[in-house]
Amino acid sequence: MINLARIERDPNYRELVRRRSSLGWGLSLVMLVVYFGFIVLVAYAPKFLGTPLGSGVMTIGIPIGLSVIALAFILTGIYVRRANSSYDVLVRKIVEENRS
């Protein structure tokens, strides 16, 4: 039904795999580094997270924690945006070209 070798040689397919894996693994790495960076701060430097911001009681840990949450959402958004604009077009081309 589908010709495996032909799809694997298809430049559009190669482009799709290259883009998806570099973006997917790249963003995963960013998320992992940021999250485990946060966990390491929690584990080894809790007092740093307790540093007051300005003269009030707000500590630096609150915006840091909230930004990890915001970052998770933003990274997902970046991936979905890039994927919607490029992957689906490439997939459609691959399906078209390999229909026989």
Binding site: G24, M58, I69, Y79, V80, N98
Partner: protein, 563 residues
């Protein structure tokens, strides 16, 4: 027509149960019967039973039953995933944790959220392109069907079982407190309604129950957090200032506290929270309810947004409860207050009730009723999703693929899954009653640890690693499963708190075993795959290229049925 009368009968049984229970309330840990809560809850149940009836008429094929025919949109699925994830444990548990320890609650929220981007980047689209009804469809795509299905079913059922028990016990306690019902009535009610939703309405009803609940919960939490901020002139600084003033730990609630005892434990917990998400069967199943890979990816984006927003709300709600609940005698137990002099420790019903009391403090009795009803609805919806995932694993993986070798009659398979749902429901009710007085908090941690150490490694390796063989997946997966269970039993939470051995005697000092159980799983999978020289192994490796092309392009993927 037979189905309507069934539903009616069950409903007629449900209503008098409330009336009965209302008559038999005495003091103790139970609250007075809260009629506005019961009224709103009955409204919710009627609406969901109507949806179940509607879905039952449209559920004929196996695809309808397991995956709602693939006809759920990305946005709807995003809400449903968020609904599955925003369980009563995370709503009441995290706000309760913030209430007692402040900043520590945020650490859990962050951990529970960051698994989602990983799911989006690495798993969601591939899962949709390769699978049909359960995640075992993906792991067994090119591997030996029988072995891998059994492994996946074990991983799924053990995860579902622990999660289900934790939810049932939580539900019983909560409903006892909120509605003034007896514990066992509450458990039977949850189990019974769950069986109705799942057996009659399948995935379609389960999804819509989940969507409605997610909207109600988000709306309720938004109102609560908004009301708290309003009281402090929308100044977080003013809220935190007041909270540090009245909380006995003072400024310490603004930084990581005693919850994370040692660094390795923190990292291990972080791993379990992050990767457990990507291995929960009831969550993974949701990716098969959408049309295609694009919709799968969009749905996680919406889900991440809703869940992240919700966690920020619970943080505000927790701090709101510190300022408004712990300072108000109405919500405190006088005798404990006398002894400890701490409003935090004296909260009626324990710290998990912080959000519920706050609802009363900011919105009066009517809003308290609303939040109570939503909390009950939340448990009901999450339990239904779990039961469906467990039943699918039994009927689709074990019955359809292992016993019948993939040649099962579709109607038979649906019948098996309905029977499995009933068995799971009865079992859940039974275990819920047995575990009434046990500390079950560790069970959710265990579920996450097993999901992260058995389901996730096999899934991710099967999608990305050509060298994976059936034997490698099987040995590594079971090693992960066993080491996660052993690790939890030997951890301080179970060894000392539940089994009662001396403090400090736990053989493993980690509260969550993910750090070593995930490592054991991945190492086992790798080692036993590369050493595998069997004939099956070369079939496994040869099948990778075709699988990879399909996972990337979706060519040949199961399509949505038309409705």
């Amino acid at each position: 027509m037979k189905k309507i009368s069934w539903l009616l009968t069950i409903f007629l049984i449900v209503i008098p149960t409330f009336a009965l229970a209302a008559g038999s309330v005495e003091g103790g840990s139970k609250q007075a019967v809260n009629w506005s809560a019961i009224g709103m809850f009955v409204g919710f149940v009627m609406l969901t039973l109507f949806i179940t009836y509607w879905a039952a008429k449209r559920t004929a094929s196996a695809a309808d039953f397991y995956s709602a025919g693939g006809g759920i949109t990305g946005f709807q699925n995003g809400l449903a995933i968020a609904g599955d994830y925003m369980s009563a444990a995370s709503f009441l548990g995290i706000s309760g944790l913030v209430y007692t320890s402040g900043y520590d609650g945020l650490i859990y929220s962050v951990g529970w959220l960051v698994g989602w981007p990983i799911v989006t980047f690495l798993i969601a689209e591939q899962l949709r392109n390769l699978g049909k009804f359960t995640f075992a469809d993906v792991t067994s795509f090119r591997l030996g069907q029988t072995d891998i299905r059994i492994l996946a079913a074990c991983g799924s059922l053990v995860t579902v079982a622990f999660y289900l028990i934790a939810q049932m016990v939580g539900a019983g306690k909560l409903i006892q407190l909120l509605f003034g019902l007896d514990y066992w009535i509450a458990v039977v009610l949850v189990g019974g309604l769950m069986m109705v939703y799942v057996t009659f309405g399948g995935m379609k009803a389960t999804t819509w129950v989940q969507i409605i609940k997610a909207v109600l919960l988000l709306a309720g939490a938004t109102f609560m957090a908004g009301a708290v901020l309003y009281k402090f002139g929308f100044s977080p600084e003013a809220l935190f200032a007041k909270a540090t003033e009245v909380h006995p730990k003072k400024l310490a609630i603004m930084e990581p506290g005693t919850l994370i005892s040692n660094p390795l434990s923190a990292i291990s917990l972080g791993l379990a929270l992050m990767f457990g998400t990507a291995g929960l069967p009831h969550i993974l199943m949701r990716f098969f309810t959408v049309k295609d890979a694009q919709a799968a990816r969009k749905s996680v984006f919406y889900a991440t947004g809703f869940i992240g927003y919700f966690y920020i709300l619970t943080f505000i709600i927790g701090f709101g409860a510190i300022t408004l609940v712990s300072t108000d005698a109405l919500f405190l137990d006088g005798s404990i207050l006398e002894k400890t002099k701490s409003g935090i420790a004296a909260i009626k019903g324990g710290s998990n009730m912080a959000a519920i009391h706050l609802a009363n403090a900011v919105g009066g009795n009517l809003f308290l009723g609303f939040i109570s009803a939503v909390a009950f609805a939340t448990i009901l919806a999450v339990v239904s999703g779990l039961a469906l995932a467990g039943a699918s694993s039994i009927s689709h993986d074990l019955y359809g693929m292992v016993i019948k070798g993939g040649a099962a009659n579709e109607q038979d398979e649906i019948r098996v899954s309905k029977i499995a749902t009933l068995v799971l429901g009865v079992l859940a009710i039974f275990l819920g009653i047995v575990f009434e007085n046990q500390n079950v908090a560790f069970m959710v941690g265990l579920a996450f640890a097993i999901a992260a150490s058995c389901n996730f490694p096999v899934l991710v390796m099967s999608i990305f690693w050509k060298g994976l063989t059936t034997r490698g997946a099987l040995v590594g997966g079971f090693l992960g499963l066993v080491s996660a269970v052993v690790g939890v039993v030997l951890s301080p939470a179970v060894w000392e708190a539940t089994l009662g051995y001396a403090k400090g005697s736990a053989p493993i000092k980690l509260d969550n075993p993910a750090l070593f159980s995930m490592a054991i799983a991945f190492a086992g999978i790798w080692l036993f795959s590369i050493l595998d020289r069997s004939k099956r192994a070369s079939i496994d490796r040869d099948g990778f290229d075709a699988q990879f092309v399909r996972s990337q392009t979706g060519i040949g993927a199961a399509s949505a049925t038309t409705h």
